[in-house]
Symmetry: C2
Subunit: 446 residues, 2 copies
Amino acid sequence: MADKTLIPPRTLQGFRDYPPEVMIPRERLIETAKRVYRSYGFSPIDTPALEYLEILTGKGGEETDKQLYRFQDHGERWVGLRFDLTVPLARFAAQHIHELGTPFKRYHIATVWRGERPQAGRFREFMQCDFDTIGTRSTASDIETALVIHDLLRAIGIRDFTIRLNNRMLLTGLLERQGLVERSSLVLRALDKLGKIGVEKVAEEMVAMAGATPEQAREVLKLAEISGSNDEVLRQVEPLVAGNATGETGVGKLRETLAALAAVGVAEPFVKLDVSIARGLDYYTGTIFETFLNELPSIGSICSGGRYDNLADLYTNQELPGIGASLGLDRLLAALEKLGLVEKVATPAPVFIPYFDETHLHDYLRLAAALRTAGIGVEVYPEAKKLGQQLKYADRRGFRIALIAGQNEFDAGVCQVKDLQRGEKQDVPLTGDYSELIEAARKILC
Amino acid sequence: MADKTLIPPRTLQGFRDYPPEVMIPRERLIETAKRVYRSYGFSPIDTPALEYLEILTGKGGEETDKQLYRFQDHGERWVGLRFDLTVPLARFAAQHIHELGTPFKRYHIATVWRGERPQAGRFREFMQCDFDTIGTRSTASDIETALVIHDLLRAIGIRDFTIRLNNRMLLTGLLERQGLVERSSLVLRALDKLGKIGVEKVAEEMVAMAGATPEQAREVLKLAEISGSNDEVLRQVEPLVAGNATGETGVGKLRETLAALAAVGVAEPFVKLDVSIARGLDYYTGTIFETFLNELPSIGSICSGGRYDNLADLYTNQELPGIGASLGLDRLLAALEKLGLVEKVATPAPVFIPYFDETHLHDYLRLAAALRTAGIGVEVYPEAKKLGQQLKYADRRGFRIALIAGQNEFDAGVCQVKDLQRGEKQDVPLTGDYSELIEAARKILC
């Protein structure tokens, strides 16, 4: 066998394996997101990874079109792998909204693929983690979206974050007043770079790319000078849109949203008006969000989204307004690791039972079963190897507790309970229902 | 807009959307599987959906090769979508086992794709739900695999099932004694059809396809006549392999496995020896499992697996023996539905709060937040529509409780708690911390 040709085991460039120590915190984060989404009545959906190519290329810009994994299937249909979860949601909503009814609140946590040039921290396969409310224009949904983001970050264990809030209507109002509304897409794309390239460069880009005059650019960039508490920001922004209905509506919606959030205890510093954020995408039309970790602002927004007027106009004539946001799972995981908020373990079970004495396998199995019934995960080592070897394995995997019993212990009616983190050990009586052992394990795990 | 050409919203043939009422029980089942796998120390892993084509076609039979979704990527590499989770596990293990160490216990719950001809209940995209222990030949892992299957079905809420157990060594021993070992693959493939086509047809196939003599076929099919309790089966099978080392080892391992299972209370009727099951796949070499729902045996095995000697010989010279099994998620869900074990809801939150009085949005939000903090999911309707409309929505979604408060209720300091399933309602005092409302909701939900 040794001289046959082996196929080299490797993954494609831009793709990666998730071993246990990466996957365990990942699954934990996904479960937290699901729990929070569900607690607000968002329902899970899923859609196929493969769609008709025409569905996927319908709205895509040149950039996404280039990145699409596309091919002909067995029936010679042109198909593609989804590159986000918004296009599938639009197709899904257009197809099913009559049975689903509105408002329709869904979350979708799934893999997407983009044939991008691989670069540090960017992959060709990654997971998106979206939630949306479709079929209503009510500001109550904008408020709720901010609450979900807030609860989600708290549930993950993050205490120091800022949800930055703006409303596209405010920006549109300002551009209307400046006679720039025809060019709003390019102007906002420039504005969106404010955090990265600064006021001067943004002004230059507005002039060069969007055809604004220097005066117009200066007026728009007054937004960047606005600062202070949320109330102060509102006061400063009002004159910039005074007399413009769109802009005034935008300011009113921001005020309404902030008041409701404050009523449930979600206020500054967790929610901060930032009238200069624009979000690149054209399809946002109302409230927009970005979320930053204050200890790591440089990694960018970890949860962004906003309100749109019409989700699915490529696939249906029915207007589907909505609002949603997307948790940046990989970015957040990278950040949690940097902040030391990810526990490094390679086992999902906290308790390890070495298979110490070959004649006692049934006892080990019974003990493990009792702990599992009590809700405590247990791994029994499968081979009666030397204890030292087994404990090395337990260390490498990151078990918290070892329950050690050989012939001496069974004779004495005890089991050694070893706290592998603290290095402490104690003998605990082995009773018929293992209740004292379960108690001892619980104490260490709490 | 109305006269522009729409892209028809549709999914590819053999693919499907999962709306909430399908996805909610599906997620619940997946979470149960994860919980049980983890409780035995199996760790999650994931691997890319796309792999180098040569990795995927390495071992595949003609059938899987034909079904592979394959294409050239942006770098003109030939790639394919994974068609199962065993080939990726083999590649993963070959690549990483030196860092992972053995025994390595992993679960992998992920989507796979096969371009099969679509037929009732078969899809081109489906989910697999596997767990395996790699790097040990110890029978303790065989025992554990059966325990996991048992715990998993119990955790799902199934009480009436049978794990059918056999050992390939017993079959190999019998074939060795009959001089059929060179043809074992074809003989076992025929034997595998016993449940479907009966003894006579299997005998015919053994003669026609595997080149056995009618006498040899008759000897092998003595297996099909063996019945009774596990002890009785062991007694009847012993003479069939007497004097053959492989067969005797197989019988010994079955005895050892059954004794250990019985020691933790997993005995007949949950575990049943069935010496005539063979499992089609060539690579099984030891213990094999199939699991049937006794009320729906016709749907076939819902959890199958077995022991193999060498997982990854295409990718590494390191021998990797192991054992694993796979839960048939879609088959099981179909069965649960038939058995009435799937609750039909389209919301993951049990409590509904109608947005009844526009001036009280902050109160509704506060009440919802208090319930969520107490661990109870709540959806607040986003628009101040007529109460009747909102309650119809609640009915359609399947909420269990509605908490109704308009101006009258707020004036009286109460909230109406309506059990939407039983149609009962009561007024509960609206206190500052909402404790009585939380209590009332809890009572209904318990």
